[in-house]
């Protein structure tokens, strides 16, 4: 059974949800790893969950990026280990330099919690469970989710096929009205150069059980477990 490290920072609040989705629902060996750890305990994959790490009173994810555990995650990622950052986890990954760009305040200047549609843009280790260009319905819940990067970075991301998920309408069409936070290029998720680190604003762990209104996020987490087996 693949073992998956779910990081816990003081202020993480989707850690238990992620653990539940990966462990109880999808049957992997999910384990919490506390932020002060220098050693991840040899997991097969790492998830950086959502929340407000250290209260996020500075810039979202900025303090967590300097935690001992993120040193270990950097080393793990450099060895090609699969890493998934969700919401605050995505912010932490950009602040850590594992992914380019940054997450700025939503253009509406308000917290947004609702379901959005995202399109699977390019085949990657994380999206192997979906048809190409599949449209997923996933929940978002963030105040700082507007993906920003300089023009050169955006071009490189697009050119290298590293935009993993893009906000679209339910029919799959790109439409500014379907972009919930004003992200540049309607980016909802990106991968690193290797394709083994994914950061995304929507919450797949909230969409793995039909009881909660949908299970479109299941493929992403299953792919992570799958990638963990191969890693």
């Amino acid at each position: 059974m693949p073992s998956i490290a779910v990081l816990r920072f003081p202020g993480s609040n989707c850690d238990a949800d992620t653990h539940h989705a990966l462990g109880q629902v999808l049957g992997s060996d999910a384990r919490f790893v506390w932020h002060t750890e220098h050693d991840l305990g040899a997991p097969d994959a790492v998830v950086v969950p959502g929340g407000f790490s250290y209260g996020d009173y500075l810039r979202s994810g900025a303090l967590a990026a300097h935690s001992p555990v993120m040193q270990a995650v950097r080393a793990f990622a450099q060895r090609g280990g699969p890493v998934l950052g969700i919401c605050n986890g995505f912010q932490i990954l950009t602040e850590s330099g594992l992914l380019p760009g940054a997450l700025a305040q939503n253009d509406g200047l308000r917290f947004e919690c609702r379901d959005v549609h995202v399109r699977v843009e390019h085949p990657s280790a994380f999206t192997r469970g979906y048809a190409n260009h599949a449209v997923l319905r996933l929940p978002i819940a963030h105040h700082e989710g507007r993906y920003v990067a300089d023009e050169a970075t955006l071009e490189r991301l697009e050119g290298e096929g590293r935009v993993a998920l893009r906000y679209v309408r339910h029919d799959g069409a790109v439409d500014p009205a379907a972009n919930p936070n004003g992200s540049l290029h309607a980016i909802a998720g990106i991968v690193d150069e290797r394709g083994t680190v994914l950061g995304m604003m929507p919450h797949p762990e909230r969409a793995v059980e039909p009881l909660l209104g949908g299970s479109d996020g299941r493929g992403l987490l299953e792919a992570l477990i799958d990638a963990a087996v191969r890693a």
């Binding site: 003081p10 202020g11 609040n13 989707c14 238990a16 949800d17 539940h20 989705a21 109880q24 959502g50 929340g51 407000f52 250290y54 209260g55 996020d56 009173y57 509406g108 308000r110 917290f111 947004e112 919690c113 609702r114 929940p139 819940a141 105040h143 919450h203 762990e205 909230r206 059980e209 009881l211 909660l212 209104g213």
Partner: protein, 771 residues
């Protein structure tokens, strides 16, 4: 200095031993009646305190008595009335008197729940006022050993068109969102009402629910003599000084200068406290837990001591401080947020402190549980306060004489039979749907994280109540908050009973069996006879309805002195006894939502009673009249509807239901259509009410609409028959228009496109928030 200085903890631990040979009278200047008045004590109360002490008090003692004998902590005007409320039932695991009530939801699970107001702080500083309201009630929940898993809010603001209302609405919503979202407890429901009487004095009532295993249930107690009191959490500052007195005073012009009495919230600190306290409880390292809420250390320690029937020796000088030069009085009365008191056995205290420190919390032993019955304060070896525990906790109570305001009686008894009928039913429907009291609150709840914790099965706005699953169980928990302030204003007893009935109907409409109530009584100044009458009558109404529906009251909160200035003096707000109710779904897969699910389903009107326009939303927003009697109430019939509806859902017959509430039958069906994105064609029976406007827009106490596939109609009818209720076929789900026919209405009724209905329903609140 590091916040985690172990040396300091060890010193603290070593030095809590209290010296022998206690001096009989604390040092310090004595306080006189004039000074005591600034702590909220009347001359009579001062005299009573002196008698209890057997001497003149020193300032800190007078201040502590003042805080504990304030309305907010001591319930001095409401306690004799609150005794009328039913509090017992087989489902009650914990009734009133602890940090929160607890009901049994089966399978070894319990739900702790309570509601509290933060009205006055929110009037002065809406963001922090509301945020700390959320923080305070969450601490009450985890103090019970329960993990908070849902928040609901009942809010009231003034006229939606004013700048002040928009400022307060925006701020309060941001405050709730900022705190709840960060700590990671979903905000799953609530209600928002608007009336000009709340313009100056908004209401912010926050209800929280927590889940626990029966064996995890905690008590706010100090336990046995020799136990140690552990202070944990934020340091103590001068913020919120005298908040309990502030909350119990009239809100006046001077209140804007009271900003220091409003505290600032830190959800990050609270998240650490929450996790640490629950872990400590799980590890069986605590004897008692209590939140430091209103009146801070004073009330928390006094209440814990009182519950155990013990005294305490508290070392004020060991309390961690944020500021230098604080007096004992300031330390004891500070309402700095995110602080808890834990009691530990001496042999376990080191393990407890270690656990708390691992969560990077400051934790200090500040006192010991004594074999005497005094609350003693020490600064080093010097005694600075010495009070008997019991009288501190037993505020004098007042029984007053209430009198109904004749103007209110006249308004209630106003004859509405000659009221002109409108000429366009469709226009009326759009107007009522756009009324801010009825309109969609989507623009608000989208700012709340309502899905974190992955338990939210029915999301805000989708049904009459929120539903959360219990992981590892088939069961679900439903919750709602309700009150129609117009009903209560016009007829306090009747209106308060209707609030309970509405809450139960809302739970039943999702398929839940109601279990218990927490109430938040928001009223004006109780020394005014007309206000006291409202309070007295409303509590009787709560009593009658809670008895009829078998929903005991397990706790709550009283907020008095809610009023506004007029040219001639002060006027009370509309009395608002908010009812928070919790229910259980035996199988969470069997639940109902309000949105229509299938074309071809048959709509059935279920229940008993005649809708009427008295005190209705229609009367208010179309005719501009606030008059008439609220809907007729037959408590037995209301209870039968609740059982019928919950049973139909639990039996898997009904999965679409919505009660007939504000705006009546037409609004209920319109909401079902908008939420389900499907049209409907219905014929309203002419016999439903004498006037067509009452049939379409009149309100009722025991009616609901369900939608079922055709082959299920007979099951619904049979269930209704067996309980002596009516089930009337209204029409079918079809197309994308809402057609409501009534033979007596102009144009034969109304026929509107779904998109037209939707824009009326969804525009109002979003516009007010400039979204």
């Amino acid at each position: 200095m590091s916040a985690f200085d172990t040396t300091r903890l060890d010193q603290a631990h070593a030095s809590v031993a209290i010296p022998d040979g206690v001096p009989p009278v604390p040092g310090g200047a004595v306080a006189h009646a004039e000074q005591a008045a600034t702590f909220g004590l009347s001359a009579d109360e001062f005299a009573l305190m002196v008698a209890q002490l057997g001497r003149d008090p020193v300032a800190v003692e007078a201040a502590m008595f003042g805080a504990l004998w304030s309305e907010h902590c001591g319930y001095k005007n409401s306690r004799p009335l609150l005794r009328r409320l039913p509090t017992e039932g087989p489902q009650v695991l914990q009734g009133p008197g602890e940090n929160a009530g607890v009901v049994d939801v089966g399978d070894g699970w319990g739900v702790a729940f309570k509601m509290e107001s933060h009205n006055h702080p929110s009037a002065v500083e809406p963001v922090q006022g509301a945020a700390t309201g959320v923080g305070g009630i969450l601490r009450d929940i985890f103090a019970m050993g329960a993990r908070p898993f849902a928040v609901l809010d009942a809010l009231r603001f003034g006229d939606i068109s004013t700048a002040r209302t928009r400022y307060l609405l925006d701020g309060v919503v941001r405050g709730i969102a900022g705190y709840g979202n960060a700590i990671g407890v979903p905000t799953v429901g609530g209600e928002i009402g608007f009336h000009r009487c709340f313009e100056q004095n908004p209401l912010v009532n926050v209800m929280a629910l927590g889940l626990l295993r029966h064996e995890q249930l905690q008590s706010g107690t100090v336990g046995e003599a020799g136990n140690l009191l552990v202070y944990v959490g934020s340091r103590t500052g001068r913020d919120g000084l005298g908040g309990a007195v502030f909350a119990s005073a009239d809100l006046t012009d001077a209140s804007d200068a009271d900003r220091p009495a409003v505290q600032v919230g830190d959800p990050f600190m609270e998240k650490l406290l929450l996790e640490a306290c629950l872990e400590a409880i799980d590890a069986d390292l605590v004897v008692g837990v209590q939140d430091m809420g209103a009146a801070g250390l004073t009330s928390s320690v006094a209440e814990m001591a009182h519950r155990a029937g013990r005294g305490v020796d508290l070392r004020v000088d060991l309390v961690p401080r944020r500021e230098t030069g604080m007096s004992a009085l300031e330390v004891m009365l500070s309402e700095s947020q995110e602080r808890m008191v834990l009691t530990a056995r001496p042999d376990q205290v080191e393990a407890l402190l270690t656990l708390l420190r691992r969560w990077e919390l400051e934790a200090v032993v500040v006192g010991t549980v004594a074999s005497h019955d005094r609350f003693r304060l020490w600064e080093g070896d010097a005694l600075v306060g010495d009070m008997p525990v019991a009288p501190l906790n037993e505020a004098p109570t007042y029984v007053r004489v209430g009198r109904e305001d004749p103007a209110v009686r006249a308004a209630r008894e106003r004859d509405l039979t000659a009221l002109a009928l409108p000429d366009d039913p469709g226009a009326v429907l759009l107007e009522v749907l756009a009324d801010p009291n009825v309109a969609s609150k989507q623009a608000v709840y989208r700012q709340y994280d309502h899905q974190v914790m992955t338990n939210s099965v029915v999301l805000p706005g989708a049904a009459d109540a929120a539903v959360m699953r219990i992981k590892g169980s088939r069961r679900g928990v439903a919750a709602t908050v309700d009150c129609n302030h117009r009903y209560v204003y016009l007829a306090p007893r009747h209106g308060a009973a209707l609030a309970v009935v509405e809450a139960a109907r809302n739970l039943a409409a999702v398929g839940a069996t109601p279990l218990g109530v927490t109430d938040n009584l928001n009223f004006g100044n109780p020394t005014v006879a007309e206000t006291y009458y409202q309070l007295q009558e409303a509590i009787e109404g709560l009593r009658e309805a809670c008895l009829a529906l078998s929903t005991p009251v397990t706790g709550g909160n009283v907020s008095l002195y809610n009023q506004y200035r007029t040219e001639t003096g002060h006027q009370a707000i509309h009395p608002t006894p908010t009812v928070g109710m919790v229910g259980v779904l035996p199988d969470v897969e069997r639940r109902a939502v309000a949105g229509l699910r299938r074309d071809g389903d048959v709509l059935v009107l279920l229940g008993a009673g005649t809708p009427s326009i008295g005190a209705s939303t229609y009367l208010w927003c179309v005719h501009g009249i606030e008059a008439g009697a609220p809907p007729e109430l037959d408590l037995a019939a209301a209870d039968r509807l609740v059982r019928c509806l919950a049973g139909l859902v639990q039996d898997g017959i009904v999965d679409t239901a919505h009660d007939v509430g504000d705006g009546g039958l037409a609004v209920a069906v319109a909401e079902m259509a908008i939420l389900g994105d499907r049209g409907a064609r219905i014929d309203v029976p002419a016999a439903l009410a004498a006037r067509w406007d009452a049939a379409l827009f009149g309100e009722a106490a025991a009616l609901a609409v369900v939608a079922v596939p055709g082959h299920r109609v007979a099951d619904v009818t049979a269930a209704a028959d067996s309980l002596g209720l009516e089930a009337q076929r209204l029409g079918v789900v079809a197309d994308r228009r809402l057609t409501i026919r009534h033979d007596g209405a102009p144009n034969g009724g109304l026929d509107l496109d779904l998109d037209v209905l939707r824009s009326a329903f969804e525009g109002t609140i979003a516009e007010a928030l400039a979204i």
